[in-house]
Amino acid sequence: MSPIDPVLLFFILGLTAGLLRSELRMPAAVYDLVSMLLLLTIGLKGGVELARQPFADLALQAVAVVAMGLLLPLVAFPVLRYLGRLPRADAASIAAHYGSVSVATYAVAVAYFTRQQVPYEAHMPFLLALLEIPAIVVGVLLARGISRDMRIGVVAHEVFLGKSIVLLIGGLFIGWAAGSDGLAPVKPLFFDLFKGVLALFLLEMGIITASQFGSLRKCGPFLLVFGIAMPLFSSVVGMLLGYALGLSPGGVAMLAILAASASYIAVPAAMRISVPQANPTLSLAASLGVTFPFNVLVGIPLYHAMTVRFLGSG
């Protein structure tokens, strides 16, 4: 087996093409298709498993991860505000990005765990969907002092009915309702092609990541350090929570990865509408330019190794 997952090679190809200023670019419609497929697949896979879980377990896990989603931005905010000397709106917005999750990072982790044959709780996408939202609420509240015009209805609409949440929750629902056998006829598209579609997606993510490096340079070293230190911290929080919830080793590592990941789809969209003062360049440079490549190239195996060691010693 090659030392590196081929889907990551596609990410590296995109990154290289972007850095070399190749004209390679995925049409917006294709990017939309590919992300639709990923979100639906992840939802479907999680939904199938959801039906098999006892309700009490689910409810406990749900409350716990929502609490984590509320906590992480509260930790990140003062660091960004006082250590990073960022304006309040920017600190709040970036904190929200890091309290939420990245579906793409989760997808790469799924590919990694499949390759390593590490089992994990298959209803993880349910927790993923839950984790997307609380940090947005905290972020908006943290920025509130300066936001004159709250437009709560608009923000709630943007958050709960944004593309990514609808597809993820819709997929969960369909998977739950149809069950594994029911999904059989749509598996060739959603399940068999999953890794290939992820490869295409990561190709474009590489190009997008490369385009963030320019703005990263202007942002100074603080965001670079934060973009690596914060996920390291969050992964420990996620790992401890997974352990406390009694998840399997794979599940503990997966929750560490979710905690460590930073949103770059749902949160930016919500922040743009609800905290317009926040400069999207800063948060995207950190989450897309630093944390995403760090997590997919280094973080996922690292958090996994850390969990194995922790559980071994624990």
Binding site: V154, E204, S211, R272, P276
Partner: protein, 100 residues
């Protein structure tokens, strides 16, 4: 060509605002609008990637001077400071002017 003069207000801005703006236009008296997808560059950098947060839209509104002024003022007050946005007005002749 013969016709009645009207204003053609063009707005180039972030795609994320489409939903909000469309509601604003209606409440400010526009009778219609036309939108195309766009990419570009301005004071807030390049906006040309495939992903949602980096797309532009180009909106055109045919209307009378009063509505154009109202929309321009509203956009300036609400979005100019924090969003990539460019706005300009030209003169055009329309037929069936009662429509705009």
């Amino acid at each position: 060509m013969t016709g009645t003069p009207r204003k053609l207000l063009t707005i180039v801005t972030e795609a994320a605002l489409e939903g909000l703006l469309v509601k604003d236009f209606e409440s400010l008296g526009a009778r219609g609008y036309t939108i195309t997808d766009a990419r570009g560059k301005g004071s807030r950098g390049r906006r040309d990637a495939a992903w949602d947060e980096n797309r532009n839209i180009r909106i055109e509104i045919l209307c009378d001077a009063v509505v154009a002024e109202a929309i321009a003022r509203h956009l300036e007050a609400t979005y100019y400071e924090h969003y990539g946005m460019v706005l300009y007005v030209g003169e055009v002749l329309v037929r069936r002017a009662e429509k705009f």
